[in-house]
Each structure stands twice: as C-alpha cells, then as structure tokens.
C-alpha cells in the first residue's frame, strides 16, 4: 500500500487538524456560553424579537462571564500567595 502521505503533506495535515481542533474548542465554548447566558438573560417566554434589555444582557453576559473567570483566578492566586508567605 503506497497510500502514505509524504512528510510535507503530513505536516500540512497536522497543522490543519490543530487548527480545526482549536476552532472546535472555540465553538464548544460558544455553545456553553450561549446556554449559560440564555438561562441568565431570557427569563420570560420567547417573543418574536428580543427586548432591549434581553439583548443588552446577552451582549454583556459573555464579557462579564470571562471577567468573572479572570477575577476568580486572581483571587485564588492571591490567596495562594498569602498562604505561602504567612
């Protein structure tokens, strides 16, 4: 069987795979964020369009979720550092 890719093709394929996997990870995060933000922001019965506040909430939700993540990581680091020096 000669159906083995040459070295250049293998490199190209692994680069391609890496890229696709990175994209898939981003997509999966977006699915998760959509789910979280939907639960948070859409409290009533879905209408034919979003209300102003629903839309605003969805737009802010992602940034605040990520801010929360960074904030908590910082806090945990601070606490860890404090417990090391104390």
């Amino acid at each position: 069987m000669a159906d083995k890719f040459d070295e250049a093709s293998q490199k190209e394929l692994s680069k391609f795979l890496e890229n696709e996997q990175a994209q898939a990870r981003v997509q999966s995060t977006i699915h998760q964020l959509t789910s979280t933000c939907w639960d948070k922001c859409i409290t009533g019965t879905p209408a034919s369009s979003f209300s102003k506040s629903e839309r605003g909430c969805l737009e802010n939700c992602v940034d605040r979720f990520l801010d929360t993540s960074l904030f908590l990581i910082n806090k945990i680091q601070e606490q860890r550092d404090a417990s090391f020096s104390g």
Binding site: T45, A47, C61
Partner: protein, 101 residues
C-alpha cells in the same frame, strides 16, 4: 513516478495523494460542521422545551408551537450575539495579553 525505479513508497505529492489529502480535509470539515449543527439543535431543543412546553399534554398546543417557533429564532439569534461577543473578546485578549486566555 515509477521510472525512478525507487521502492521507497511515500512518493512525493502525486495528484492522487493531493486528492486524498483534500478529501480528508473536507471530510473533517464537514464532520465538524455537522457536530456543530447537532449541538445547536440539541441545545435549542432542550432550552425551548423547557421554556415552551410547561405541562406536556397529549399534543403540542398552538400556543406551544408559537412559543417554539419564536424560541428557535431567539436561540439562534442568541448564539450569534454570543459568538460575536466571544470572538471580539478573544481578539482583544490576544492583542493585549497573549497569555491570559
């Protein structure tokens, strides 16, 4: 190719292998897209069922169907809004602080 007489199997990029490579890439791309669509459909189903079918009866009422139709559109819209917000943030983080996300 064969007139080089070499027995080393991994030949350089023959048209055949290029086609194989491209077929593989396309297959991966379409499978990823399919998984993505399935995930979106599953999530929409879960969210809209929760929102619209409060007390399952012997069939979907017309107001439930109405709600489901709206919900489908809104969930897709929410996905687009979140997607835009996330990629914007991602780009910003990469520009300012490459290591933070």
């Amino acid at each position: 190719m064969s007139f080089f007489g070499g027995s080393s199997t991994p030949t350089a990029s023959t048209p055949d292998m290029v086609a194989k490579k491209e077929a593989l890439m396309n297959q991966i791309k379409s499978e990823t897209a399919l998984m993505n669509a399935q995930e979106l459909i599953n999530k929409t189903n879960e969210k809209c069922f929760a929102k619209c079918v409060l007390k399952p009866s012997s069939s979907l009422t017309s107001s439930e169907q109405n709600c489901l139709t709206n919900c489908l559109g809104r969930y897709m819209e929410a996905f687009t809004i979140v997607s835009r917000a996330y990629t914007t943030r991602l780009a910003k983080e990469i520009r300012h602080e490459p290591s933070s996300l």
